[in-house]
């Protein structure tokens, strides 16, 4: 999803998740209005907004563990350790999140996505603050997600072209 600043990308994403109630229109998921079974819909989506949802006082590992528990995803410690290695945070897994840089905090979000089986990713500017390697890793994750039949709704200013999946560009006029 593309569009100039302030055209309503974030608002649209938040409407889709259900955080914001739209003034008009319906959100449907798999042919059903999301209001019919909101708990199931919430189980199917993973949302990454502007706010990281991380606790400064918890370690990298704990933050990841708690956010997955909140998503009702059961993962063992090995899987968490592997995901942290993949995003390059394995040496910082016992550091409190306050000691991490903005990009490293974003990488916790990447690790969370890689462990979450949600069908639909709803991401708001996921590449912000990530370096080249981080961005490449995100594209790789997105690719894997699309390859296993997942769907992603992404608002971004970057050029995001996952090699396999089909990309449809939504342009929002101001």
């Amino acid at each position: 999803m593309r569009g100039p600043n302030g055209c309503g990308k974030t608002t649209l994403l938040r409407c889709v998740t259900g955080l914001t109630r739209p003034d008009a229109g319906r959100i449907t998921w798999l042919g059903q209005p999301v209001t019919e079974d909101p708990a199931r819909f919430r189980g199917d989506i993973a949302y990454g907004g502007h706010l990281p949802g991380l606790k400064d006082d918890l370690t990298t590992e704990e933050n990841l563990e708690f956010s997955l528990r909140l998503r009702d995803v059961a993962v063992d410690r090995d899987a968490i350790a592997r995901a942290l290695v993949a995003v390059g945070l394995d040496k910082r897994r016992r550091l409190p999140a306050r000691r991490l840089s903005a990009g490293q905090r974003r990488r916790i979000g990447l690790a969370r996505l890689s462990l979450d089986p949600a069908l639909l990713w709803i991401l708001d500017e996921p590449l912000t603050a990530l370096d080249d390697a981080g961005q490449a890793h995100f594209v790789e994750l997105l690719d894997r997600h699309l390859a296993r039949g997942g769907l992603a709704l992404v608002a971004t200013h970057h050029n995001l072209l996952p090699p396999s999946g089909k990309v449809r560009e939504l342009r929002i006029a101001p």
Binding site: R21, R40, G53, L54, D56, L58, S67, R71
Partner: protein, 214 residues
């Protein structure tokens, strides 16, 4: 709830501050109005209740504010878990780090006021029943006041009037015991209010959080 408790454990100073505030408020009264034993025993139950109420109020903004700012509250709202579960968990965690230690500390303060053993017991019992109501009602108010400018002041205006009945019955129970009357009617009313709050308030908290993150 486990997460909130772990976070609180990382910052024990907040619990200690709440308790220190309680002890300070309770110690200011004898300094202000004189230290005659009879007078102190007369006002003790009420002072302890007011002190505990203010200390519990002081800890209220912490229930949701930090989660609201860092986006955890959004993620909770989007969690597939039933919302009543995490709302109740957060309030329970708040009670464990504010109401419970205040209740446990109240007999010590009561001793300062020269209250008898029975009165101390009834006072602690009324706090054990009353402080969860404070956490529940206060939680709903804290969720409503999220994101509002001057949230602290708004929270005081919203929550303190709601605390009045709890204070009246709570302090009333200990005072009845001190004057030789039966404290049971007050305690029963507190227990009834607690049950009503347990049933009704978590849903209100969820609704208030939804409004605030919108």
């Amino acid at each position: 709830m486990a997460r909130d408790l772990r976070l609180a454990w990382r910052h024990p100073d907040e619990i200690i501050l709440t308790l220190a505030f309680f002890a300070l408020v309770a110690s200011l009264f004898p300094l202000g109005i004189g230290a005659e034993p009879q007078l102190l025993a007369r006002i003790g139950p009420g002072v302890i209740w007011v002190g505990a109420l203010l200390a519990a109020f002081l800890a209220l903004p912490g229930i949701f504010a930090a989660d609201f700012i860092d986006g955890s509250l959004e993620q909770m709202t989007l969690s597939p878990h039933p919302p009543l579960g995490w709302a109740a968990g957060k309030i329970a965690a708040h009670w464990i780090i504010s109401g419970l230690p205040l209740t446990l500390m109240s007999p010590l303060i009561g001793l300062q006021y020269g209250l008898t053993g029975d009165t101390l017991l009834v006072e602690a019992l009324s706090l054990a029943l009353g402080t969860p109501i404070l956490s529940l009602l206060g939680g709903a108010c804290a969720a409503l006041a999220l994101g509002a400018r001057g949230g602290g002041m708004l929270l005081a205006l919203l929550a303190l009037p709601l605390f009045v009945p709890v204070l009246i019955f709570g302090a009333g129970a200990a005072e009845a015991q001190a004057t030789g009357l039966a404290p049971t009617p007050h305690l029963s009313l507190l227990a009834a209010a607690l049950i009503a709050a347990l049933v009704g308030v978590p849903a209100a908290v969820v609704a208030a959080v939804r409004i605030s993150v919108d």
